[in-house]
Amino acid sequence: MHDFISFPGLLAAVTKDGIDSGATAWMLVATAMVLMMTPALGLFYAGLVRAKNALNTFMMSLGAMAVASITWGAVGYSLAFGKGNGFIGDLHFAFLRNVTNGPQAGLHIPELVFVSFQASFCIITAALISGAVVERMRFGAFLAFVPLWACLVYAPMAHWVWSSDGWLANRHVMDFAGGVPVEMASGFSALAAAVVVGARKDFGRQAVLPHNGVYALLGASLLWFGWFGFNAGSAFTTGGQAPLAFINTLLAPAATLSVWMLIDYLRGRKATAIGAATAIVVGAVGITPAAGFVSPMSAILLGALAALPAYTLIVWRPRTRLDETLDVLAAHGLAGFTGILFIGLFAQASWNLTGNGLLFGNPIQLGRQALAAGAAPVYAFAGTFVLLKLMSLVGRIRVHEADEGQGLDVSQHGEEAYTHGEGAILFRPLEPELEDAEERTPSAV
């Protein structure tokens, strides 16, 4: 029916060593685009917190970039994509020992590019969890949490769906760009993190408002841009499912954004900007697992549908005692859950050349997707809950109350996002008579 999607030509540019230069060029760009999503997330989150915590919030994303990258190179990649068993990979690729510049089976890009692309997924997923614990978690504790979480929660879940011997992959679960290891993993881990770390002292007692809506909008917009690399890059080529994933990444968030503004308008006669920023993320998350599997019109429907549970949870959650501060569960957990299940209904082999969903004559796919949608939240929540509980036995994972009141920028980083300069005195003023730097001796402070 849709004969304009075809693979002829895909192999035309493949050289003798099995590398497709066009695909490799695109994957290098896509990787860089996804790597930009983590600072974009930092900006989005920083805008949503109070001014006194803006730097700390941004630094949690950058900190995740630091330690998750190294973890990925050391053992993360191997645990996710090594042979191993159905649950987790082995250490065959630990420290990237057996990784080559050649292609893996079925792909036409260097494995090093594949490693980098997958690293960017692990990084942003870990950074996403910070949204649940901003404004009170110790920075050092978060930096310790990220590598452990990447090995114990992210790597197994990536292995489940993307490794050829993962137990969900073997049951033909369709997860294009990470509904299981990225979206549901971060969302339900965020829920566990919020439960273990506990609510902020001001939560439910005073109004805590986003300090810069423009940051939130710019961050969400940059996330959307990066998401084209995230989803279309998950085709690992320029042909195949990449164009479908690309346009779906445009259409689904656009539908979510439209529906979100409509709900906002119906509820309060105003389309809110912070709501719009949230909607972009929700829509992009919803289409993530389905991007290369459903038709563009189905993507619009998915985007519209994904708005409903996420919007409901975001309105309801602040009325509870659960301080899952930046609603990672709603935006990622629930929207990812919606997307994974949606595949089971709307996957269309004529578009994806992989398989059909229930509505196109393959009811068993819905069961497979439901299995993933059931297993991922349980494992992510339980793994993160146990990990953080153990960490809290070893040391403090949240700041003292006085430091929370003062703000984490000063208490964790010794800086302020918005400095006044008034009353700030140079710690070691230059002595004017000593013009030459070499003549200055280090003075004790």
């Binding site: 001001d202 009141g405 000063v410 700030a424």
Partner: protein, 118 residues
């Protein structure tokens, strides 16, 4: 009539507002200020520049009250703003020579007595 000036920690400002409301004190102004009251200086470093920040963010409440409201106002601020650490702030009570309510021209005690809105 007195003017009660309360200088408190920013993170206690909401607690103070609530306490004043509960004490039935109406009519106040607040402003963001920076001040120093003997608390430890914080040291901040921006690349190579290390500074000692001697002024901390504070919130300044100004409440004009009739005489029998002075003590409740002081008590409300003191109780709500206290953490026990250095840097909790100060309360000053100063005499007021004259108060005029601009809307009506009422003066002094009448001017600081809240009127119930229609």
């Amino acid at each position: 009539m007195k003017l009660v000036i309360g200088i408190v920690r920013p993170e206690k400002a909401n607690d103070v507002l609530e306490a004043l409301y509960r004490a039935k004190v109406r009519g106040l102004s607040m402003s963001r200020i920076r001040g120093h009251g003997g608390e430890t200086d914080s040291v901040e470093t921006y690349r190579g520049t290390t500074v000692k920040v001697e002024l901390a963010d504070k919130i300044r409440f100004e409440v004009g009250v009739s005489d029998n409201f002075v003590q409740p106002t002081v008590d409300a601020i003191a109780k709500a703003a206290q953490t026990g650490e250095v840097g909790d702030g100060k309360i000053f009570v100063v005499p007021v020579e004259k108060v005029v309510r601009i809307r009506t021209g009422e003066e002094d005690t009448a001017a600081v007595t809240p009127v119930l809105e229609r």
